[in-house]
Subunit: 441 residues, 2 copies
């Protein structure tokens, strides 16, 4: 077995990444609202010794719910029930720094970490879209730079709260009646531009020290936030070279924050459509495509590109003058535009190429082809692992676990069993040092 280990995470995009996933035979249309669906998917991932399951989040309806499931149930609650039904797999949930308070987020993820025996991860997002802003008293989204400035301060406050209890703060001495040593529980007395938080936290330091910090920084500000704080990043690179560049750039930036190369893992987004033969995989792809109403695909593309749907003509290329948003556009905006330009695609071709996906790279093929692709990327350092988005859930994950995982194991790339208990153990990430511990040493 090679020393460097591949990491696999499954993005439980409700019924699957395909907008038509819920219509496929064997799918339960109601799955996205059913806690048992998330538990079932997580158990399959755990059987495949995955590092973690991941849940995105939106505090709004931001897609066309007439056509497809939406991001709905609140992730930390869902993951708490997943924790109760699994033993080892990591639990990564999304929460926005724009529409939450740091004390509340620190508590939610610390609680999940305590309750799961150290399996929690927090995916930090800044929530760019209009629909969310209007649910929180704003008529338009907070500007990009301001969101990331707030996110940086927010994350620093959360980490300080997690560190505010020294490891030895809990005493619990029945004889003397000393419960906690208050000298080892410290106010953080944070006073910054966006937040004033006195602290201390009211929860002992989480089992992992900090729940694992995850981010999906694509923009310059996003990469800086990831470089300073993230321990795993979800990337949306479309090509091998792009991903290699991204990984190098991120590690370079992280080094400027005094962080080690191994302290930040790149998990590349990978949508999968798997068949027992290449032809079968292609047929499956066509079947899924045919189930996506064209009206939906056009509306969705127009939404991603922030243009009027009427400007998109099916058999012509994208208009030349799609304006780059003032904030540089979010990751999927840029990925989608790049995909169209690179291959000179018509709107119809772009819709086909996107596979109804979210701008992430899609691989269509046999288990061996998927394993080859993963090995190539992983071995060359274009990714430390993958954030998998199976076409249909749980079906696509079951196929991956039963057909692809054994190949990755035989090649010595992926664990045969869990060797640790925490998400940090799985990811090979060290436990963050508590600054108060060093003062005492």
């Amino acid at each position: 077995m090679s020393r460097r280990q591949l990491h696999l995470n499954v993005n439980i995009l409700h019924s699957g990444f395909s907008p038509a996933a819920w219509r496929m035979e064997g799918s339960d249309p109601r799955a996205s609202f059913d806690i048992n669906h998330y538990i079932k998917v997580a158990k399959i991932a755990e059987r495949g010794t995955f590092d973690a399951v991941f849940l995105a989040d939106q505090a709004a309806i931001s897609d066309r719910i007439d056509f497809r499931p939406l991001t709905s149930l609140e992730p930390t609650i869902v993951l708490a029930l997943v924790a109760a039904n699994t033993d080892r797999i990591g639990l990564i949930g999304t929460a926005s720094t724009t529409y939450n308070e740091p004390y509340n987020i620190a508590r939610r993820f610390a609680t999940l970490d305590h309750a799961s025996g150290g399996r929690a991860g927090w995916n930090i997002v800044t929530s760019a879209d209009l629909a969310q802003s209007r649910n929180f008293g704003l008529e338009k989204p907070v500007a990009h730079a301001s969101r990331y400035e707030r996110a940086g301060e927010f994350t620093a406050v959360v980490k300080a709260l997690w560190d505010s209890w020294e490891e030895e703060a809990f005493v619990g001495d029945v004889a003397t009646g000393r419960f906690v040593d208050p000298g080892r529980v410290h106010p953080i007395a944070h006073s910054g531009k966006h937040f004033s938080v006195h602290g201390p936290h009211n929860i002992p330091r989480p089992p992992q020290g900090h729940p694992v910090l995850v981010q999906a920084g694509g923009s310059d500000d996003g990469r800086e936030l990831a470089a300073e704080h993230a321990e795993a990043v979800f990337s949306a690179s479309q090509s091998f070279e792009e991903s290699l560049d991204y990984a190098r750039d991120l590690r370079r930036r992280a080094a400027r924050y005094g962080r080690s190369e191994n302290g930040i893992l790149v998990l590349a987004g990978l949508a999968t459509i798997i068949g027992s033969t290449e032809a079968e995989a292609r047929r499956r792809q066509e079947e899924l495509r045919d189930l996506i109403p064209l009206e939906y695909s056009l509306a969705r593309l127009a939404g991603v590109l922030q243009v009027n749907p009427k400007r998109l003509e099916l058999d012509r290329p994208l208009p030349d003058d799609i304006p780059l948003p003032a904030d540089g556009g979010h990751t999927f905006f840029r990925a989608t535009l790049a995909l169209a330009r690179r291959h000179g695609l018509t709107v119809r071709g772009l819709i086909r190429a996107l596979n109804g996906g979210t701008g992430h790279r899609t691989i269509v093929g046999t288990p061996a082809a998927v394993a080859d692709d993963i090995e190539t990327w992983f071995s060359a350092g274009a990714a430390d692992g993958f954030n998998l988005m199976p076409d249909v859930l749980p079906h696509g994950l079951e196929v991956f676990v039963d057909e692809v995982v054994p190949l990755l194991r035989r090649r010595g790339l992926f664990r045969r069993e869990y060797t640790g208990h925490t998400l940090r153990d799985h990811l090979g990430l060290s436990r963050p040092h508590n600054p108060y511990a060093s003062a005492a040493e």
Copy 2:
């Protein structure tokens, strides 16, 4: 069996209501931080066919953690794990309207309701204390009237979000590809003094319509909030007459909001210390008292009364000039002061009378005495049920379930088995009508 049914709820005050609970033989000092403790207590309550378990919340350290466990883990996450480990029991969690956003709270409790099959309840609090305010950017707590004004608007927004999906909004028609009927999902377009929330919610209407709304309104503003919105109230009445007056006042107020008498249940706080004989119960009370450091009791009393601890002399009455806070003082402030004045207690006597408790009424006696007390209050309408605070957890609850519950059942006061599945079923509360349903009818 009488038609009117008693309701029992257990307040999982971590190790028990007694500050010394964690020091008792058989207690695990670490229990307050251990998810398995909450699950174990909930399972015992479910064995006793309790209506619900309840978790308080504080987003700060607001007690002396050198001496006793604190309110720590975030309740909705804890209750999600409890949900996964139980089948029927209701799950009531506290969240503050002062330090949260309505869209986030609507989602957390809707998710818990979906994930538990309709067992969620939200205890609405407004968070009076300084320690919390300082964790959310404020140098002092928000004023009483302003907190309650915000709480009223907050609750109305949350209810509107829960109602924003009609029952029939989900279609899930695989053949046509229609997932949701967008005509049955409505923006709430709320624009008020404290919040602007466009909506709609991104979660289908919860199984219960609304998770059960709980409140602990003691002050005039608190009673008004309860009268308008609460379906169950936790009261802190010290005497039978006080509780009878409270229940009558609350129903009178509720009627002014056009609500039915049966739509609001009074659950009286009841701390229990049970022994197989009266003498054994008294000895247990003494044992617990002796384990509470006097330094802690004095500090705690001074904190509740908001006076300098140096002004409290053990063998003298309370100072005459304890100022009533401008906001009228919170419930425990008033209950504590009333207890001291009514019986002319010295500080030492008051500390003894409080039993290290939180100002709630305490009964010390045999299972039969506890059952008699409960029957008296219940039959006369001084309470519809009780919010139990056993001295030590899980021990005190086990004794209650094994020794008191059978007596209540034999007297026809309490269910022998669950007859429904949701918390509303247990409490006999009707499912809130969806305003959009009536428009369509």
